[in-house]
Symmetry: C2
Subunit: 404 residues, 2 copies
């Protein structure tokens, strides 16, 4: 426990500062005894949150809400699971309202036996459940430009983490009998845009799921109800929502979403294509942009880290703009391809400074500085911005997004 002193005694007074006070217990106990004894409300069929809780997704400014995105309020969440109601969204033609009793998944193309599956069919097969995060490759997109985004939600809110439940795609592919010449597949959604993406067969046979469950219940409509592809560790766009068709093919199909979009333009005019993996990344969610430190003294720095290549090995925190780095405490269990929460206790002396975090994953990859990322990729990449995030703490305790 980072706060423990040699005497095994914790200085909560130092942490909590002037807001924290010892009381005459008899006084408070008297108040407690006088408190209301009104009956509360009864049990209910499907619960709701408190009316005092008003945290919501941030809706991206867009002319068309059907082709827009919404961002998870990372700075207001706890632990690692994202409530399904607050999972980020990115739709290209809105959220279809699909009747699961009529929905089908067709698997065809370079296969021995094309097959069609209903939801009931799929639910009879051996399922797996896994906690995985999902990040849009456009997450932190604004950070290529001016440091205009203000909060962790607006800079990093297109990553979320859920328990996903479904059937290994490998199981379905074994049954249809993949022909030797098949090396890719094309997955297609049932939204009006027929969003489709090419996926290498190797990944399809590895850990890709056809998912119908999220955080215990059915997928939410905004996350693909009743069926989505789930491709762990890879950019969110390829985890095709409202999945209705998988076609086995012998090459990528160069669809709109992997040519005009979701490719990364480099300074030499070439574009990186099929940049599937979401590399290691982290962000401090407290304190973060828009928040204010209310006092000097101890503060808990908290945040989340993840890597599309496996487990987070460690997270390092700097409280002086990258000069010194300290190892943060990681919440266990550390699950592969999932958000990992980190915590670090910091004593603020009241001077302006910059807070940063960097994730090192189990492959040894270290999250880059913004300068290093730009040196490699230029400023036109759009996608895959996993640079170290810098939050400036001003002398008045306000926190804002800066580039250092």
């Amino acid at each position: 426990m980072v706060l423990q002193t040699r005497r095994g005694f914790l200085k909560l007074g130092a942490i909590l500062g002037p807001t924290f006070a010892a009381l005459q217990p008899s006084v408070l106990f008297g108040q407690l005894q006088d408190a209301a004894r009104t009956l509360g409300h009864g049990v209910s069929a499907y619960g709701a949150r408190s009316r005092f809780e008003t945290v919501v997704r941030l809706l991206r400014d867009s002319r068309h809400s059907e082709a827009s995105s919404s961002q998870t309020p990372l700075q207001d969440l706890h632990g690692t699971i994202t409530p399904s109601a607050l999972h980020f969204e990115r739709h290209h033609a809105g959220v279809p309202n699909i009747d699961p009793s009529t929905h089908r998944l067709l698997i065809h193309g370079l296969v021995e036996r094309p097959l069609e599956f209903s939801l009931d069919d799929l639910k009879r097969l051996p399922t797996v459940s896994r906690i995985y995060s999902l990040e849009c490759s456009g997450n932190s997109r604004t950070l290529w430009g001016e440091a205009g985004a203000t909060t962790a939600q607006s800079t990093h809110g297109m990553t979320s983490c859920s328990e996903w439940v479904g059937i290994p795609l490998s199981l379905l592919l074994q049954e249809v009998g993949v022909r030797p010449e098949a090396t890719w597949l094309v997955a297609e959604g049932a939204d009006a845009s027929r969003l489709n993406r090419s996926l290498p067969l190797t990944k399809a046979l590895d850990n890709t799921l056809v998912a119908f469950g999220q955080n215990g219940e059915a997928l939410r409509p905004a996350q693909g109800y009743p069926l989505r592809l789930f491709v762990p560790g890879w950019e969110g766009n390829i985890s095709v929502k409202w999945l209705r068709r998988i076609e086995l093919v012998d090459q990528p199909y160069m669809t709109r979403e992997e040519t005009s979009k979701y490719t990364d333009l480099l300074p030499d005019g070439n574009a990186r294509q099929f940049t599937f993996v979401m590399e290691a990344k982290s962000v401090i969610t407290h304190p973060s942009g828009g928040q204010q430190l209310s006092s000097l003294g101890s503060h808990q720095i908290e945040g989340i880290a993840w890597s599309g290549r496996g487990r987070v090995d460690r997270v390092e925190v700097s409280t002086n703009g990258g000069e010194d780095w300290h190892r943060a405490e990681l919440q266990t269990p550390i699950l592969p391809l999932a958000h990992t929460r980190f915590r670090f206790n910091w004593t603020w002396d009241g001077r302006e400074t910059v807070l940063q975090s960097r994730c090192i994953d189990e492959t040894g990859y270290t999250q880059p500085t913004r300068d290093a990322l730009i040196a490699a990729r230029g400023l036109q990449s759009g996608y895959h911005n996993n640079a170290i995030q810098s939050w400036k703490v001003a002398a008045d305790g306000t926190v804002e997004n800066v580039y250092v």
Copy 2:
């Protein structure tokens, strides 16, 4: 993978039976091409489930819904996380509507420095997040009597599993300075009944939390918003909701909820008291009471297992009423004091039979048969029924709750 044959090929046809059919792909592909291209709905601030999803908690028949319970629909859920909206409830005076900005936690009694904490105070301290299940000690209560309960929800629905986030109680106790003569504490809720329970100091200093987060967001009101005690592995009632006061004392206080209630009457007229630990238990959720097998052949048996003493070591399944037992597959990671999902592939030959599961935890404890439990405890215990559950599959495929 249990279904894999020597040829490494899966007999999904055998699993899915007559509902499963190979199609002419051109026919279905044609239908797909004709499907509607209507724009769906746009992004939203706080998501909701599909209107086709109607799974709800089962409300216990009670004259007063404020002193009632509701049960989690285990047979309709996936994975291990219970959606907060479907977490079981048990209230004694309804759900209070508490303003978090005015709520306080007082810790007093046999301490050096009585202290009062606001929510903001607590959130500045080092937090932990843990996936833990929570079971009411009255779960499966009806199974002491006639086998009237019909579904997994009505027999076992008072257990749920969430990611809980909070402050270790040990941290707060260190700060108030527990006096040497203190050996217990009394925790009190802010509901109209002032529900209170005595907790041994040893457990308070072990893994007990003062929790404010559940599944990423604030606790739901029905689970104690804005603050609850969370005592992992112990009967749910002691995880006092709407926590407002902790008093350090030198003996248990023999409150109503640990004398008149939540004690287990034995055949000799004595009652077991302070039966805190929820012992190892499991239930098959599919197939389970009220469901119907639609065909012969392969079926996936699924369920959940847990133990208040730590990790599930293994789950064994019997498909012939307890004569033979087979090891089920456990979903990893297997977390201590949390639901663990198990799966077992079974081929039904169409004859009447009885399905059972038993949990063996890491201490070596084995979930008992109903006969063994009754031999030890009689029929008046009320609480702590962790007997092996039996589901009879009739020749017509219907499934019902039986005692064998």
